[in-house]
Symmetry: C2
Subunit: 158 residues, 2 copies
DNA sequence: TACGATCGTCAACGTGGTTGACGAAATAGT
DNA sequence: ACTATTTCGTCAACCACGTTGACGATCGTA
């Protein structure tokens, strides 16, 4: 059974994962603020990513993010107020309201992608590229696949 | 400069770190609920850890957790209401209110430590112990040291 | 056509955080 | 010994993000 190593107690693992995540997110937003996006909050990047290049609706956005449609709607409200998203009527279904990125939304998302790549390079410079890749592979292996619903292939690089 | 690998875009790294963290936390709380601690929220484990065996005050707790003393005070209020913490007067300083763990608080923290160790073993069974250790070492290397103010040596194993 | 499912929204609420103010108590300085 | 400053806890107002429940409008279907 559990042969806990006293030198490496299990509670350090979540703490280190959180630390790594928060470090990247904090560095990202410090740089984003420097580039004119000081009003983007940590959550917003995930939301923009989930909206994607084709847009969605609030209900679908909620499903992608794993929250209620009401919560998704309120987050869209804020991002509309900040100028990152816009709403439009769906001509084929009067109930639906399309949610699309504005040019500012695209800009924030593009810059986030570039900055994240640079931060990953910084980790690679410290650890070596193969160890960064190993972290990614290992975490993929122990993490449920539904954590990656945000993947929008072919969207980021450009 | 940034030689981004299109197969491993940088934004996957924070997503995977978050996924790993949330997976561990979700599994922890599912098991804690099974063991009679369904009212413990993800934050509470960090707070109990930061209170430690000797107790603290709300102000000091806020510093340890990196939040304001008011936020720390409100969280203590909730944990007192749930029976995990208790307040006591400091005989040497009438301004201070000592915050201590109750027996229920100790129980929740002990169980969390055991469960975390088991979850780490589960990762080790999938990845191999040396790769789990490598993740921890790597994350330590790229993460500011002040992320580990919660370390209370010698407290957990027992 | 009538019914049930779906979409967006409103309302009320919970949790975790912020800043500002303020009285009470400890401490430093003269 | 008496001020002046600092510190501690708390109150109040507010913000961000989430929940559940309800409800009118609209769509698809029996």
């Amino acid at each position: 059974m559990a042969t806990a190593d006293p030198d490496r107690p299990g509670f350090l693992l979540p703490l280190l994962l959180l630390a790594g995540f928060r470090t990247l997110i904090d560095d990202l937003h410090a740089e984003l603020a420097r580039q004119g996006h000081s009003d983007l909050r940590p959550l917003h990047g995930f939301v923009l990513q989930a909206v994607g290049p084709d847009g969605t609706t609030a209900s679908e956005l909620g499903q992608r993010l794993g929250v209620s449609k009401q919560a998704a709607g309120k987050t869209v409200d804020r991002l509309v107020a900040l100028g990152y998203l816009e709403r439009a009527d769906d001509p084929r279904d009067a109930r639906r309201k399309l949610v699309r990125m504005t040019e500012r939304g695209y800009d924030g998302l593009r810059r986030s992608a570039v900055i994240f790549d640079q931060l990953r390079d910084r980790w690679a410079a410290t650890l070596g590229p193969e160890r960064v890749a190993a972290i990614e592979d290992d975490l993929r292996a122990v993490t449920p696949a539904n954590w990656f619903r945000l993947d929008v292939p072919g969207w980021f690089g450009a």
